[in-house]
């Protein structure tokens, strides 16, 4: 695992050097290597595939424009995830403003938490999908700061210190946010009848 991360980091450094030398195509390698992490971050924070794709695109464009100033000796992924998180939160704030202008009450909440309907699938797969969807709904219902630390902790497996570095929050605050986020997640999942056993 650590070897793979180091190989990725070395490949990123080479790609950044090539980009700085004017070879824009080298950035395609960076995008291919990190697009899943960036897209997943945006998707779990926003909950909408197309919007997450848009955010991921914006993230890579912003990263490309800022390549001249990035420290290529450090891993690119945390930097990209930070840009993606900020972009996703900006998108949510914009959408929140738009939704408040156009929707209100239950209709607005339903639109914001809207998730695609499950397609016809075998029973086991449908059950697993329903449990995943329940987690996504519970995550979407969290306040933004709690959702962000949850995504960074459980999607990217970051430590408190790394989350603090990503978000600019004090380490203690990260711990408190995670504690509350977990309480709310458990509460919402229990209300939907999803248990720890079912998830694992």
């Amino acid at each position: 695992m650590a070897v793979a991360v180091q190989a990725d980091q070395a490949a990123d450094a080479r790609a950044v050097a090539r980009c700085r030398a004017g070879q824009a195509d080298a950035f395609a390698e960076v995008v291919e290597r990190h697009q899943a992490a960036v897209y997943a971050t945006a998707l779990r924070l926003i909950g909408d595939r197309e919007a997450a794709l848009e955010v991921a695109n914006t993230t890579f464009y912003k990263a490309y424009r800022a390549l001249a100033s990035v420290d290529a000796s450090r891993p690119l992924r945390p930097w990209l995830v930070r840009i993606a998180s900020n972009e996703a939160l900006s998108y949510l704030r914009e959408r929140g403003r738009d939704a408040r202008r156009t929707l209100s009450g239950e209709a607005g909440e339903a639109a914001l938490a809207g998730l695609p309907a499950a397609e016809a699938q075998p029973e086991g797969a449908a059950l697993a999908d329903e449990q995943r969807a329940a987690v996504h709904r519970a995550l979407a219902a969290l306040p933004e700061p709690y959702r962000l630390v949850t995504v960074l902790r459980y999607l990217h497996d970051l430590s408190y210190a790394e989350i603090a570095a990503q978000t600019g929050l004090p380490t203690g605050t990260v711990g408190v946010y995670l504690l509350r986020a977990r309480e709310q997640l458990r509460g919402r999942l229990a209300a939907e009848g999803v248990t720890a056993d079912a998830l694992s």
Binding site: A28, R44, S159
Partner: protein
């Protein structure tokens, strides 16, 4: 050590406890079956959350279809040099040369005819004459400026003065209302 509460257990799983606390809790979990079961349930729960947050096959397929790297791969395509404008220049030169070759005999014939009739000489004489006349007229005007009738001059000055004072082109001012006052 007493049984840890949920928050302490979560922080232990997050690796956020101090070394001494971690060691003490590990010792307790090795001895307390109930707490070990709670730990196992939490580990399973977090594994479930991680699995739920990771991209599933459909989401990965959607991302692959979107092909985010395409824009940068396109940037790598070699820019083909524009051959059309040098080709246009070459073709224009060739066309002009061909036209010249075709028109040359006719032109030679025309020039020869004009020479024979004295038309070229006549045209040159006419041009020189007209230029001479125009130059002489300008020199005459400079030497003897036209005399202007004083009454006409006075009338013109009066008209200019009236125009400047009355400014008929300026928009009419709105009358101030009570509130303006």
């Amino acid at each position: 050590m007493r049984c840890p509460d949920d928050a302490l257990l979560d922080r232990w799983l997050d690796g956020a406890l101090a070394v001494t606390e971690t060691a003490a809790l590990a010792t307790h979990l090795a001895e307390c079956r109930a707490c070990a079961a709670r730990r196992d349930a939490r580990v399973a729960e977090e594994r479930g959350w991680r699995a739920a947050l990771a991209l599933d096959a459909a989401e990965l397929a959607y991302l692959a279809r979107a092909d985010l790297a395409a824009a940068w791969r396109r940037a790598a395509e070699p820019v083909r040099p524009a051959y059309w404008w040098p080709a246009l220049v070459v073709m224009s030169l060739a066309g002009a040369y061909a036209a010249w070759l075709v028109a040359l005999p006719a032109l030679e014939l025309l020039v020869g005819l004009a020479n024979r009739l004295g038309l070229v000489g006549m045209a040159l004489v006419w041009l020189l004459g007209e230029g001479w006349r125009a130059g002489a007229a300008v020199l005459d005007m400079l030497a003897t400026p036209p005399v202007i009738d004083p009454s006409v001059l006075a009338a013109s000055l009066a008209a200019c003065l009236w125009l400047v004072m009355s400014r008929p082109w300026a928009p009419a001012r709105a009358r101030p209302t009570e509130t303006d006052r």
